[in-house]
């Protein structure tokens, strides 16, 4: 599939998405639509227990089911039966122990999915069930049975900044909790593996990072990476939940064993078991300040539940720790953050990546501080807000704009919305719960900081190839990269940058696959920055090659000129591009230039609360965010709205309910995500303060709005009710204090 679009539009315009109309019409091919002649269907047998020893696996009966092509267990894993995004600790198929409910144990391929499911039920697995470890703090402090050889601490990051053990006139403390949130992407995991005659395999898959998948699959299959080729298939949302492997190795194993293309598709329930979630958190905070509300110190202990396997817990911990005091100047910081193993579902990347949990705590603390010193919540934030040149708790100097004060002022100064009188404006909405009686309004604020790109000395780069040729008298640029489009609009941004850099209208985005070098993950708000940077550099190389042919370099490039100079030639440049290096955090003090860029957003939330019934209507959300440069202004608004909605979900309804390590609500009937009736209209200000170190001055956009909307909404509910509300999601019984 090659997308060719002749829309006008370089950077800074609202260029049309090449996939937009297809998606709106329902014609876009998602990975679940993949089809291959002669394909068979794969299914996964999963552990019903959060923690158990496997004493035997008997596949005899399953193999007898007519139509079954293969039944595989850990014994059939051709390479190393262990993988992991940052740290290999997870078996492809469980051997003698299962560590979470839903852990894959066996695979079946059959000529019909129903046949495969029936055969799967005939696999006999004998378990010796063990009591699960579910308490994060016990796990962190050696009070629980070790689930992995090196104990239960995946990572402990300490941040020690400024003088320690200082005192202050005003002290506010708090304990906060964040429930487990799901990415809830709409397109469940799906993929198709096609075996080749030479023992290699092609995998078509919805993922966030083709090369990280390739590396892990190759090890598990015992193949050299070039024998595992990946091509991106249509992705129905990701939000971090596709950064780890789900079925990738499984589908390839079944394909290589059966010699047939194998398709796997999870249903919604299986999807809840098939990907990592946002780390639940328990956080203890103490802020010391002067009577004027200037912060003197912050001490925090943060516990993140990483669940059964490491996934990206290490990096999430580093984020929560280094961003743990928020976008404020704090002269003395003492933060300890633990990410631990338990028998809960594995947790890893989700939009906001560690910053979300910490922000709920530090912003709640800022409101407590405002109360304690008798200041307005915005005023106390402004008095402490960081700005360019500030020193982070890691010692890193913020060397690009940090317009925190401006963002706060913008959201504060928007006129407040009038009281609604339509039923849909009321708490409970069309449920008829109130017509305004017992309804109290509250206003709250939140501001966030997020690192953009990979941190902590990770070699963060992207590879892009640009080919310029003339086809039918028309100059055409084609862009090839392994950076994946997950719905955020990368394909549009790549077209826009190419148009601006090369002056051609027609830009083809080639299929995203592993036949080109690594582009890194579509996560950490990084692709426009890193792959955008690589593309700009690749375009510069193409331009240089063109100029060389012309013989001078000071001409503006236009279409006709390119056609004239190029003739039947093709210019083809591949560039690998990296941003400034980052450095490792010192393990004892957490000091180091660990992040490459910071991004900021602020929210104001206005809520109406039915205090009798505990129902909340978020009436309006105002957001201001600095994006450095809006490459596509409408796409920026889309990110801000979507991120804000996800933050709203965490604030008032989204939570994976766990009981003894088991997910109790693995469906969209029981795991609630906001609908259009829950999400209010937004007023958005986009600032463009260029970062001199970034391509076009841009800043990553996707994550900051998710981070600050949750605390703003909860602050507004507190303002309306006077309740402490230290846990998200806030439920009716918390507001009415009946639980």
């Amino acid at each position: 599939m090659t997308t060719t679009v002749a829309t006008q539009g370089g950077i800074g315009t609202n260029a049309q998405r090449p996939d937009g109309a297809l998606k709106a019409r329902g014609e876009f091919a998602y990975s679940s639509d993949l089809w291959h002649e002669d394909m068979v269907w794969g299914v996964t047998l999963r552990s019903p227990h959060p923690y158990a020893r496997i004493t035997s696996i008997d596949i005899t009966e399953a193999l007898r089911v007519p139509g079954v092509q293969a039944v595989l267990t850990h014994e059939d894993v051709p390479g190393t039966n262990i993988y992991g995004l940052e740290h290999p600790d997870q078996p492809v198929l469980a051997e003698d122990v299962v560590r979470y409910q839903g852990e894959p144990v066996a695979l079946v391929a059959a000529d019909h999915p129903e046949t495969a499911r029936r055969a799967m039920k005939r696999i006999e697995v004998a378990y010796e069930v063990l009591p699960p470890v579910v308490n994060t703090e016990d796990a962190a402090h050696g009070r629980a049975e070790p689930l992995h050889p090196n104990g239960n601490v995946v990572r402990h990051v300490k941040v020690r900044h400024g003088p320690q053990d200082v005192r202050a006139d005003v002290v506010v403390t708090g304990e906060y909790e964040v429930g487990m949130q799901d990415q809830a992407f709409l397109g469940p995991e799906s993929g198709l593996a096609v075996p080749a005659d030479d023992g290699s395999v092609d995998l078509y898959i919805a993922t966030q990072w083709l090369h990280a998948d390739q590396r892990q699959i190759a090890v598990a299959l015992g193949l050299p990476p070039e024998k595992v080729r990946l091509t991106l298939s249509g992705v129905g949302g990701a939000f971090g939940g596709r950064e780890d492997l789900s079925m990738q190795v499984h589908a390839c194993m079944l394909a290589l064993r059966t010699g047939k293309p194998v398709k796997m598709v999870y249903n919604r329930e299986e999807s809840f078991y098939g990907h990592v979630h946002r780390h639940p958190a328990r956080m203890y905070y103490e802020h010391g300040a002067t009577r004027n509300g200037k912060i003197v110190y912050v001490k925090a202990r943060i516990y993140l539940d990483g669940g059964a396997y490491a996934s990206s817990t290490g990096a999430v911990v580093a984020n929560a720790a280094t961003l743990g005091v928020g976008p404020y100047d704090v002269p003395s910081v003492t933060v300890d953050c633990w990410g631990v193993y338990t028998n809960n579902p594995p947790c890893g990347a989700m939009r906001g990546f560690g910053a979300v949990q910490a922000a709920f705590a530090y912003e709640s603390q800022m409101d407590r501080l405002a109360d304690a010193v008798g200041l307005d919540p915005v005023e106390v934030r402004i008095r402490n807000a960081m700005s360019e040149g500030a020193v982070m708790p890691t010692g890193q100097v913020v060397d690009s704009p940090a317009p925190v004060v401006e963002l706060l002022t913008l959201v504060r100064d928007k006129p407040l919305p009038a009281k609604g009188n339509d039923l849909t404006d009321m708490p409970g909405g069309v449920s008829n719960t109130t017509h305004g009686e017992g309804v109290v309004r509250g206003v709250g604020y939140g501001v966030s900081i997020k690192n953009v790109g990979f941190s902590d000395s990770f070699d963060d780069y992207s590879t892009v190839r640009v080919r310029l040729s003339v086809i039918g008298g028309q100059a055409v640029a084609s862009v090839h990269t392994a950076a994946v489009e997950v719905g955020q609009g990368l394909v549009t941004v790549l077209q826009q940058i190419t148009r601006t850099e090369l002056g051609v209208d027609v830009v083809t985005i080639e299929p995203m696959d592993t036949s080109i070098g690594d582009a890194g993950s579509t996560s950490a708000s990084r692709q426009t920055y890193v792959t955008g940077g690589a593309l700009r550099a690749a375009c510069a190389a193409v331009r240089a090659a063109l100029f060389e042919r012309i013989g001078h370099t000071d001409l503006p490039l236009d279409h006709d000129k390119i056609v004239e100079v190029l003739g039947t030639d093709v210019i083809d440049e591949v560039v690998e591009w990296r941003h400034r290096p980052t450095y490792r955090l010192d393990p004892e003090t957490g000091q180091g230039n660990a992040h490459v860029q910071y991004a900021f957003a602020a929210h104001r939330a206005v809520v109406d609360v039915d205090v009798e019934l505990g129902l909340v209507k978020v009436v309006e959300l105002v957001c201001a965010q600095d994006v450095g440069k809006a490459i596509n202004p409408e796409a920026v608004l889309g990110q801000i709205q979507g991120g804000t909605a996800q933050g709203l979900g965490l604030a008032v309804m989204e939570e994976i309910q766990l009981a003894d390590g088991k997910i109790r609500n693995p469906s969209f009937t029981d795991y609630l995500i906001p609908t259009v009736l829950d999400m209010p209209p937004m007023v958005i200000d986009v600032l463009e303060r260029p970062d001199p170190h970034a391509p076009y001055g841009l800043r990553g956009v996707g994550e900051p709005p998710t981070i600050s909307s949750t605390p703003a909404i909860v602050a507004a509910i507190r303002a309306a009710t006077g309740m402490a509300l230290t846990r998200v999601p806030v439920r009716p019984e918390h507001i009415t204090e009946t639980s």
């Binding site: 409970g428 909405g429 008829n432 003894d660 009937t669 019984e733 009415t736």
Partner: protein, 331 residues
Amino acid sequence: MKSFAYVSARDVPTAVSAIAGSPNAKFLGGGTNLVDLMRGNIEQPDTIVDITRLPLTGVDLLPDGGVRIGALVRNSHLAAHPLIRSRYPVLSQAILLGASAQLRNMATVGGNLLQRTRCLYFYDTAAACNKRAPGSGCDAIGGFNRNHAILGVSDNCLATHPSDMCVALAMLDATVEVESTRGVRRIPMNEFHVLPGDTPHVETSLAADELVTAVELPSVAVAANSRYRKVRDRASYAFALVSVAAALEVTGTTVTQVRLALGGVSAKPWRATKAEEVLLGAPATEESFRQAAAAELAAATARPGNEFKIGLAERTIVAVLRELVTKGDAA
């Protein structure tokens, strides 16, 4: 999903004899609940008798002023029907607050009556559940039971009946007409669903071979001043934590007629007779409303996870009654 035989019935006698002949058969209405349960292997019928072609789709005015509703009337059609909207607004509201437009377009009256609980353990075949597997235990009791019942529970089951429509039907004293090869029976709504006791797998007084053919609503003048309120975690498309269907007539300052039923709190739509007793003849004041609500919920038993429902139910009752007084005055 288990394999099953499929039979399509064109008339009631065929439907009831089809089911009489096969002990483990199920009627298929809109399928919005049954098919989900079959997919999850919670229901495993041998035979499906498709009744969607039965001529039970009328909504008709009866000579005594009541209304007869065919069992195959779709939920959306019923909610929009002028007879229902004008005479029983509470029923129309209750239906419209349930599920989603797409589901209501498929769901039938009979299926809505017989829809099964949303207890999360009932849906998880690996969990102990007396309703799904009698005698296996009840994982909800010591587990996640925030959505569970507080009235009429037993030590064997805490499940709720999830229907909104049924709460309004209970408040309106509807009658369910059922038919089998043995003939026709009429079951008062309040006796249709049964409390769990020692047999939580028995949910209704309907025999396995009986077909719901119709629901009849008596003429209820007070229903003109009626209201359904549903408290839930999200503004649309979520089951009730607590709901209240109420109708009220106040003469002077005295309550002269009252009907009250609760949803989300019991294995059946809960007719709040104790509260009705307290209210009838009492002054229509906030004070009486509170007393009535407290009287009804005095018998409530909760677990730590669903304790909040007691207070929530009380406040919701008071809020609805308060609103009906104001509304009644205005009318």
